[in-house]
Symmetry: C2
Subunit: 256 residues, 2 copies
Amino acid sequence: RAPIIVCANQKGGVGKTTTVVNLAAELAHRGYKVLAVDLDPQRNLTSGIGFVPAQGAASAYDLLVRRQPAAGLAQATSIPGLSVIPGSADLAGIDIELAGDDAAGDRQLAAGLRDVGEFDVVLVDTPPSLGLVTVGALAVADAVLVPVQCEYYALEGLSQLMATIRLVRERLNPNLEINGLLLTMLDPRTKLGSDVVREVEEHFGELVYRARVPRSVRLAEAPSHGVAIRSYAPGTTGAESYAQAAEEFAARVFHV
Amino acid sequence: RAPIIVCANQKGGVGKTTTVVNLAAELAHRGYKVLAVDLDPQRNLTSGIGFVPAQGAASAYDLLVRRQPAAGLAQATSIPGLSVIPGSADLAGIDIELAGDDAAGDRQLAAGLRDVGEFDVVLVDTPPSLGLVTVGALAVADAVLVPVQCEYYALEGLSQLMATIRLVRERLNPNLEINGLLLTMLDPRTKLGSDVVREVEEHFGELVYRARVPRSVRLAEAPSHGVAIRSYAPGTTGAESYAQAAEEFAARVFHV
Ligand SMILES: Nc1ncnc2c1ncn2[C@@H]1O[C@H](COP(=O)(O)OP(=O)(O)OP(=O)(O)O)[C@@H](O)[C@H]1O
Ligand SMILES: Nc1ncnc2c1ncn2[C@@H]1O[C@H](COP(=O)(O)OP(=O)(O)OP(=O)(O)O)[C@@H](O)[C@H]1O
Ligand SMILES: [Mg+2]
Ligand SMILES: [Mg+2]
């Protein structure tokens, strides 16, 4: 079964989507068969890879609410080796829609991700909250990848996120590991940036990816063209940092 | 009754908290009696103004779940004229906790904000989602202030936010107005920045604040000191842009 890696952080705007888009593209380029899953009602992953769903195409709503197996929902993208389960705006009210529904009681909303067929890895993007969708994804995940923006509020939110991960491990998913913490939007010239790096590395040691993603306007521009950074601005620091992160990701997940 | 202005945008990291902190501090400096309300379980507003709640102090949980009037929950801060209802981590699971509860059916969760006593204005920070908390705040708001980060994904999310505002106006709160859209984290030297500005101004015209908040590391540093930008880095472009935004805010809300 393909490992399921969920990218999560309830702090908004820390680079979750950007990380899933660019890691997925890098891994596909290296020959892995990748399934990217967009569980955020904002659907930024879907547009970030330039995927335009066909009318009436399957979406993450079929996975979470209709509990369909992921194998039947995956759609090929223009990037060789990369398929996607596109996002759905209908997920916006899911916490309200499903709460009280006994079937959701086990929180195994994303159980369909265990049945993906021929992929090597499943990468999941989540919304900025610790509601049913994110908890549902963590409940079936093998590991969680945490982007950490190198700024103060993002640092503050880490302890709450780690507490939620522990809770999910205790109650829903004893196998849930931490894939790692990836520092994002780092401006090493600022004291704020270097302070956050030091704090995170002191607390989390080996869990922190050696790759650090710099703040780079190229990374903010790429989504408006619907392509990953490796196509939009190859050779830039943004592209190189995600190439390095993909290398480390493969070592952590596939032990190569 | 004091006007209730809710700062909302489901896109994460666009500057909601930064806007509430700095507008609240500016308005308090101009002599208005301001109540800032932290409805985000991340509690960034509470720490951004350097407020450390006393043990067992009242919080936003008392407002939304215990439905207590805001007047009894407001606590004075070190900034003259500014009081706060601090955030609560217990709000993280509120969508699940309250869904199905008939009392929440009317979505008037934040009705206690109508009973604030002697304040001139209530400014509300919300989490990055369109769940019960944000909808509950919009249901009792006089107007909504929308920070718009000058980047692609933030632009994409605007139509979903506007659709939600229209829905709230039709079903829950016919008086809900749009206070305005405030452009944030603008780097005018980039094509991305100027493209977003043009798009937003073409679509929203007069609703867009003339003040534009530049991307400024000072604004990202201020929260780690628990002070507003006007105290942390007076005279910088970040401080000046929020001073100008407060001027426009007062004109829109108090018609001065
Ligand atoms: N390293 C970077 N340098 C500069 N801009 C970046 C970087 N990474 C992401 N961005 C931009 O910052 C914004 C936030 O990133 P992104 O949307 O990926 O975060 P997110 O955590 O997925 O947000 P949300 O919480 O809303 O889902 C986007 O406009 C994105 O293009
Ligand atoms: N104009 C700016 N220039 C540079 N950094 C900024 C600016 N405004 C906010 N920031 C920083 O960007 C990050 C996101 O801002 P903020 O937390 O206020 O957004 P938010 O919309 O409240 O996020 P969330 O969706 O998580 O609630 C914070 O680290 C903040 O300090
Ligand atoms: Mg995202
Ligand atoms: Mg915030």
